[in-house]
């Protein structure tokens, strides 16, 4: 009788084994390279005219006709070693254009099987043409979820 009880307990335990899943993805599901604009004195400036950013190799517009912009968050490519970004600042009757080159390494990032796979980047170098932009500098090379400013863009004072 005791053995029957033991065996019954074992069977019940087998039937009772179960588990449940919960999806726990991060709220930050996009990875953006954050760039902020500064004057020659290192003070934050606002681009009052229209700013548009495109990238070489794609028709996508990364940042479309922004006004009063003091910083932008731009997606970087998943597989290219170097991204070429084109900044256009336009006003009444004029358009100024500069190109920023961002060298980087890319690595995939898995949060969970049920969350989207994302691509993190490590910026290794940055340079630009100098029509509006005076210089560019890396602040934080890691482009990951919500990591703050990555690149400082110093503008010519005359172009502000």
């Amino acid at each position: 009788m005791k053995r029957i009880k033991y065996i019954a307990t074992i069977v019940m335990a087998c039937l009772g084994f179960s588990s449940c899943d919960s999806v726990d993805c991060t709220l930050y599901n996009t990875v953006l390279c954050q760039m902020a604009f500064y004057d020659n004195n290192g003070l934050s400036v606002e681009i009052t005219d229209t700013l548009t950013v495109t990238a070489a190799g794609t028709d996508s517009i990364l940042y479309n006709k922004g006004l009063k912009t003091h910083s932008v968050g731009l997606p970087l490519s998943y597989h290219n070693d170097c991204d070429t970004l084109c900044l256009r600042i336009s006003g009444r009757g004029y358009e100024l254009k500069d190109i920023i080159y961002i060298s980087k390494t890319n690595r995939e990032h898995f949060e969970s099987l049920d969350c989207p796979v994302n691509m993190f980047h490590e910026i290794t170098g940055v340079s630009s043409t100098n029509n509006v932009i005076d210089s560019v500098r890396i602040t934080s090379p890691s482009v990951i979820y919500n990591n703050g400013e990555n690149i400082k863009i110093y503008l010519h004072t005359a172009a502000e």
Binding site: Y6, I7, C14, S60, H79, E108, F110, L113, D114
Partner: protein, 238 residues
């Protein structure tokens, strides 16, 4: 005649009273006279049926393992468990696939709480466990929408390691001759782990779904090798 009938009646009555008394005494004697358990009281090997069941039913993951243990004084049971954990799983929301197949091992012991030696055992136990493994992630739909680059993702042989502790309670009973059946419930707590910077493994062999703690269970079929061997020897001697 009257004397004889009185004697028989007295004998019957006294026997009715004496039989239960004798029975109690003999039972008491059996318990008292049970020889003390030997220091090395046996050797057993077993296999976990849950893991094989999960593998056959194509469950999300399966830990297939065998174990060996010593029986010391019928109280202490040092245990070694070796297994292979495998997992092939695709995400519900995304097309990301995870794969791993690697060995793991556990070492520890059980303590038998039952005092009677009637074939049933109630265990509490502790295990230290470790697994070093490689894992893969892949996603055929992975693509860069902004830059219009749709290269399928395939990352292989990422390294993972994990150390953890397990606390278990379980019962076991003798089914037949040298065959025993038991189950146990385990609480697993991670001690440390390391993994590839690109992402944690979804599953760790022997542990289960990755996390700080988890629960597990096993249904063991055990074979007492000593009683099996002794029985064979006895048959030979006969």
């Amino acid at each position: 005649m009257e004397r004889t009938s009185r004697f028989i009646c007295t004998l019957l009555l006294s026997s009715l009273i004496a039989i239960p008394a004798c029975a109690k005494t003999s039972k008491y004697r059996v318990e008292q006279e049970m020889p003390p358990a030997k220091v090395l009281n046996g050797l057993g090997v077993g296999v976990d049926m849950v893991g094989f069941g999960m593998m056959l039913t194509n469950a999300r993951f399966a830990n297939m393992e065998v174990n060996g243990r010593l029986n010391i004084l019928e109280k202490y049971f040092p245990v070694v468990e070796l297994g292979i954990g495998q997992c092939d799983r695709e995400g519900n929301e995304q097309a990301t696939k995870f794969h791993t197949r690697a060995p793991y091992f556990r070492v520890g012991g059980d303590y038998n709480l039952t005092k009677k030696r009637n074939g049933n055992r109630l265990f509490v136990g502790l295990r230290y466990a470790f697994s070093s493994f490689n894992y893969d992630y892949s996603n055929p739909d992975f693509g860069d929408v902004v830059y219009d680059d749709h290269t399928p993702l395939q990352i292989e042989d990422m390294d993972g390691k994990m150390h953890w502790l397990e606390i278990n309670v379980g019962v076991e009973t003798k089914l037949w001759s040298f065959v025993r059946l038991g189950w146990n419930l385990r609480y697993k707590a991670r001690l440390s782990n390391s993994f590839d910077e690109r992402g944690e493994p979804w599953y760790t062999p022997g542990f289960g779904k990755n996390g700080g703690t988890t629960w597990g269970g096993m249904v063991n079929v055990m074979f007492d090798l000593d009683s099996f061997i002794f029985k064979k020897n006895k048959k030979k001697n006969l």
